[in-house]
Symmetry: D3
C-alpha cells in the first residue's frame, strides 16, 4: 500500500484540532485546524427570519463562506472573489443545509443563526472543516442562549460532521489535502450525522465516470472518517465552560 504525500495511510485523517470559543463577541465560535487547513467559524444570532418563515415560529440556520486573500498558495485578489462567487455560493449553501440537518428548527424560535466560515489557510477540505467546526460553534451559541434563557431546550437533533473522500491514482483516499484533491479523478463530499444517516453526498468527476461499486467504497471510507470527527467535536464541546 503506497504512502500518501504527507505519509498518511489511505484511511487516515489529518490531525484535527478544534478550539471552541476563539472569539470574544460572537455568540459561538470555533477555530478548526485539519492539517494546514484553518477555518474560523463564528455564529451570530439575529432576531429575524427569512420571509418564508415569518409567523411560523420556526428559526433558520444559514452559512457564509469566505477566504482570506492569502489563505491560498498564491494570493487570491479580493476582487477575484467575485469571479469565484459561483464556488463560494455552492459551498455556503452546502454548509447551511448540513447544519440545518443537525438542528431542531422549531425549537429555535423566530431567529436566524448565521455561521460565518472564514478560511485563514486552505489546504483542501475547507468546506468539510467548515461544517465540522461550524457545528461546534453553533453548539456553543445554543448553550449561550440557554444560559440567557432565550432558548428553553438545546435545539440539537443529531451532531453532523463532514469529510472528503476521493479516488486518486486509482486508490480510494480519506480526507484529501489540496494536492490530492487537485489530482483526484473522483471527488466526494460526505456529510453524516451521529445516527449514521447521510445528510448529503455529492460525488463528481472531471472526466472519469465511476461504477456504483466505487461509490460504495467511497461512502464506506467516508463514514469511518465522519465517525472519528464526531468524537473530536464531542471532546471540544465538553471542553466548553
Amino acid at each position: 500500500m503506497p504512502q500518501r504525500i504527507d505519509g498518511r495511510a489511505p484511511d487516515d485523517l489529518r490531525p484535527v484540532r478544534i478550539q471552541p470559543g476563539y472569539l470574544l463577541y460572537a455568540e459561538g465560535s470555533a477555530l478548526i485546524e485539519t492539517g494546514s487547513t484553518r477555518v474560523l467559524c463564528a455564529v451570530s444570532v439575529e432576531e429575524r427570519v427569512p420571509a418564508f418563515l415569518k409567523g411560523t415560529g420556526r428559526g433558520w440556520v444559514t452559512a457564509e463562506y469566505g477566504m482570506l486573500p492569502r489563505s491560498t498558495l498564491t494570493r487570491t485578489p479580493r476582487e477575484a472573489q467575485g469571479r469565484e462567487r459561483g464556488r463560494t455560493y455552492e459551498i455556503q449553501r452546502l454548509i447551511g443545509r448540513a447544519l440545518r440537518a443537525a438542528v431542531d428548527l422549531e425549537a429555535l424560535g423566530e431567529r436566524t443563526f448565521i455561521v460565518d466560515c472564514d478560511v485563514l489557510q486552505a489546504d483542501g477540505g475547507t468546506r468539510t472543516a467548515s461544517i465540522t467546526g461550524g457545528y461546534v460553534a453553533l453548539y456553543q451559541a445554543f448553550l449561550n442562549l440557554l444560559k440567557r434563557d432565550i432558548l428553553r431546550t438545546l435545539p440539537i437533533r443529531s451532531a453532523v460532521a463532514a469529510v472528503s473522500v476521493g479516488v486518486v491514482d486509482g486508490e480510494v483516499l480519506l480526507d484529501l489535502c489540496y494536492e490530492e484533491d487537485f489530482r483526484a479523478q473522483v471527488d466526494c463530499t460526505l456529510v453524516m450525522n451521529e445516527r449514521g444517516e447521510i445528510v448529503e453526498v455529492h460525488s463528481a468527476t472531471e472526466g472519469a465516470p465511476f461504477s456504483r461499486a466505487t461509490l460504495e467504497r467511497l461512502l464506506a471510507l467516508g463514514e469511518q472518517g465522519v465517525r472519528r470527527l464526531l468524537e473530536v467535536q464531542a471532546r471540544a464541546i465538553q471542553a466548553l465552560p
Copy 2:
C-alpha cells in the same frame, strides 16, 4: 400504490420531446421539453480555451444557465437573478462537468464549446433537462464541425443524460415536477453515461437525513430513467440531417 399529482406511476418519466436544430445561427441547438419544462440549448464554438489549457492542444466544454423572467409560476425579476446567482452558478458548473464527461477533450483541439441553457418554462428538472438536451445540441455542433473539416473525428466518449429522483411523502419517485420537488424530503440528481457509469450524483436533504439503503433505491430508479432518456437522445440525433 398512490398516483402522483399528474397521474404518473412512481417510476414514470414525464413525456420528453427533443427538437434538435431549433436555432438558425448556433453551431448546435436543441429545444427539450419534459412535461411543462422547456429548455433551449444552444452551442457556440470559440477558437480559444481557458488559460490553464493554453498550449495543451486540448479543448473545453462549458455551460451557462439562465431563466427567462416568466419561466416561473410568478415572475422572477431580471435583477433578482443576481440574488439567485448562487444557485445559477452551481447549476451551470454541474452541466459543464456532466457534458465534459461525455466528450474527448483531446479531440476538440484548442477550442471552447459554450452550451447556453435557457429555461423558457420551469416545472422542475431544468438542470437535468439542460444536460440531456445539451448533449444533443453538442452532438449537432460536433457534426457541423466534422462536415466543415474542423474536427477530424466525432469527439464523443459516451452519451450522458440526467434525471432527478427523490423521496416524496416517503416514496421514491422518478423525474420530479416542481410541486413534487418542492415537497421532497430527499432530492437527488443523477448523471450517468451509456456505459452505465455514474458521472455525478448529488443527494441532499432539507432536514430528513436518509439511510444508505434509501440512497441505493434512488440510484436504481434514477438509472432506469437515464436509460430511457438516452434512447430519446439517440432518436433525436438520428433525426439530424
Copy 3:
C-alpha cells in the same frame, strides 16, 4: 426594381406568424416570428404601481427586453449585456410607451402589466416585433383578467403595431432584415394605431442627413406595413380561446 437580399419587393413584409398563449404560467403570452426573428412576449400582472401612480386609481404597462446569448449571429456573452445596456433600455422604454398608447390606463386599476420581450433569434426588427407581439400578449392577459372578474371592461383604446423602414442604397424599404438594417443610411421605427395615428416615430441616420420628402416616403411605406401587421394581430387574437 432591384430585388432584396431575400427576394422581397421593397414594400414586402417578411412572413409574420404569431402564436398566442405560448406559455403556461404567464397571464398572457405570444411567440412572434417575422422572418428569422423570433421574440417571446410574456405578460405578468402585479398588484402595485410605480410611486407616481399610487392613490390615483390608474394602472401601468411597462416592458423589459432581453436577448438570449445565441440569438445573434455570433454569441453575445451575458456579461456583455451590461455594456449593451444603453441600447436595451432605449428599446424597452420604446416598447413600454408604445403599448401604453394602446391601453386605457384608467381601466386597469392600480396594477402593473409587465411585458417581457425576450429575443430567441435576432434577424432585425426585434423591437418592432416586440411591440406587435407584445400587444397580442397583453390582449390575452386582459381577457384572462376579464374572465376572472378582475377587470370589468377590456382596457383597450386602439390596437398598436410597429414596423421598421429605412433607406438602403438610396431605396426606401419596408421591414429591414439584419443585413439591410446594418447597411441602411436612414433607419426609421414607426409605431401606429388602428385609427391611423402615429404613436411614435424615430428616424435617425449614421452620417446621411435626409430631406423632409424622404421622411414622407418612409412614413407612407411604414403605414402600409403597420396596417398589414394589425390584421395579423387581429387574426391571432381571434384564435384565442
Copy 4:
C-alpha cells in the same frame, strides 16, 4: 394666442448664450445656457478608435452625458443615476449620432473625440442644448488641432443644432421648458443641419397619438428654431481666438 408660463410666444426660443472655451484643459469646451438650463460641454481627444474602426483611417465622435445631483429641482442622488441610466444612455447615443452627422469622420484620422455634456442646471431641453453647445466645443477642438498641425483640414461637413418642440394643451410650442415638457402630450426632438436636412427626428407621446398633420407642424416650427440656434452657434465660433 395664450402666453406661455414664462411669457414667451409659442414660436419663441428662450434666451440662448454660449461661452466657448469655458475650460482650461479641454481641447474644446462651451458653456451653453438656454433659459435656466446650463450644460457644460468639454471635448477630449484620444489617439485611439473603437475596434470596428481600427485600420480604417477613420475617426470617431462620441458623447457622454451626466447631471450634477442638484441640477434638478429636488436633488437626484448620485446612486440614482444608476437607475436613470436608461435615459442617460439614450441621450448620449443621440448626442453622439447628431455630432457625427456634422463631421467628416474620414478627415479626423484614427482618433476619438469625446464630448462630455454635464448638466449644471436642468430646466428642460438639456439633450438639445448638449448637441447645440457640443457642436461649438467640437469646433474649438478642431481649430486647436489644426493649429497644432494634427488635423490638416477642418473636418466639418455641416453645422448641426437641435431643439425640442411639443404639443402642450393642444398647442404646438417651440423649445419647451421643464414644466411645459412635463405637461406635453407630444414631445419631439429635432436635429437638423445648416443645409436644412434632418439629422434625427424623434416624436413620441405618452398616451396621445397624433396625426401626420401635427407632425408636419412640429417639424416646421422646429426648423425655425434650429435655424436661429445655428446663428447663435456661428457667432460663438467667430468669437473664438
Copy 5:
C-alpha cells in the same frame, strides 16, 4: 527666496473668488475659484436624518464630492471614478466633518443638509476649496430656511475654512497648485475655525518623514492662509441678498 511656478511668494494664496447663489434650485450654493481650481457647491435639505440620529432632535450635515471627467489635465473616464472611489470617500468624509464642526447640529432639527461639491476644474486644493466654498453655500441655505421660518436661529457655531500647505523642494509653501502638490515631499491639509482652533489636520508624506519642527511651520503658515480665506468667505456672505 525663489519664486513659485506661478510667480507667487511661498506664503501667497492664489486669487480666490466665491460666487454665492450660483444655482437656482439649490437651497444654498457657491461657485468657488482658487486659481484655476473651480468647485461648484450645492446644498440640498432633506427632512430626514441618518438612523443613529432618529428621535434625537438633532440634524446632520454631510458632503458628496465628484469630479467632472474633463476637470483634469487629461480626461478621467466616468467609470474610473469607481477605481478612484477610495480617494473620493476620504475627501467627502473630510468635507462633512469639517462643515459639521461649523454648525450647531442641535439647532438644525431632524433634517440633513447635503453639500454636493463638484469639481469643474482641478488645479490642486479641490478638497480645501470644497470646504471653504461649502461653508458659504451652507450659510446661504441656513439664511433661506430662516426666512421661511423653518429654522429659528442661525445654526452656526464658528466659520470654518481650509487650506493646503506642503514641503516642496525643502520649502514650506501655502496653497499648493497641482504641480506643486504632485512634487511635494510633505502634504498637509489644515481646517480651522474663526476662533483659531484646529478642526482637522492631516499631514502625510510619500517617503520623506518629517520633524515636529516642520509640522509647526506647516501649521503656522496654514493658519495665516485660513485667516485670509475666512475674510473672503465673510465678504461673500455679506453679498448675499
Copy 6:
C-alpha cells in the same frame, strides 16, 4: 487621575503580542494582538509594479484592509462592506503610505509587496495595529527574499509603528479601545519611525475643535507609545528564524 475602562493609566498601552510567521504560504506574516484587537497581516510578493513605476527599477508596497463579519460587537454583513468602503479605502491608503515610508523602494526591484491586513477581532486601533504588525510581516518577507537571493540588501530605511491617541472626557489618552474611541472628542492617529520622525499625523474631531496646545500633548503622548511599540516589533523580529 481617574482610571480608564479597562483599568489602564492614561499613558498605558494595552498588552501587545506579535506572532510572526503565523501563516504557511505567505512570504511574510504576523498576527498582532493589542488588547482584544487581533489583526492578521500577510505579505504577498508579485513580480509587477503599478503602471507609473514600470521601467524605473523601483518597487512598491501597498496594503489591503478587511474585517471579518463577526470581528465586530454585532455582525457586519459582508455586503455592508460595500457601504463601508469609504472608510476601508482610507485605512488601506494610510497603511500603504506608512509602510512605504519604512522601505527603500529602490532596493525592492520592480516588484510589489501586498500587505493584507484582516481584522479577526476589532476593539479599537485596528489601523494602527495593521501598520505595527504589517511592518513585522514585511520584514519577514524581506528576510525570505534575501535568503532566496531575490533581494540583495535588506530594503529597510527605518522601522515604523503607529498608535492612536485622543481626548476623552477632556483627558488625553494613549491607545484607545473601541469604547474610548467611540466617546473621544478628538481622535489622532500617529505614525512615526525609529528616528523619531513623523510619518503621518491625522487629528480630527467630531464637533470639538481643539487648540494647538492640545495637538502638542497628543503628539507627545503618541510618541511615547510608538517608541514602546517599536521595541515589541524588534523583539518579534529577533524571534524570526
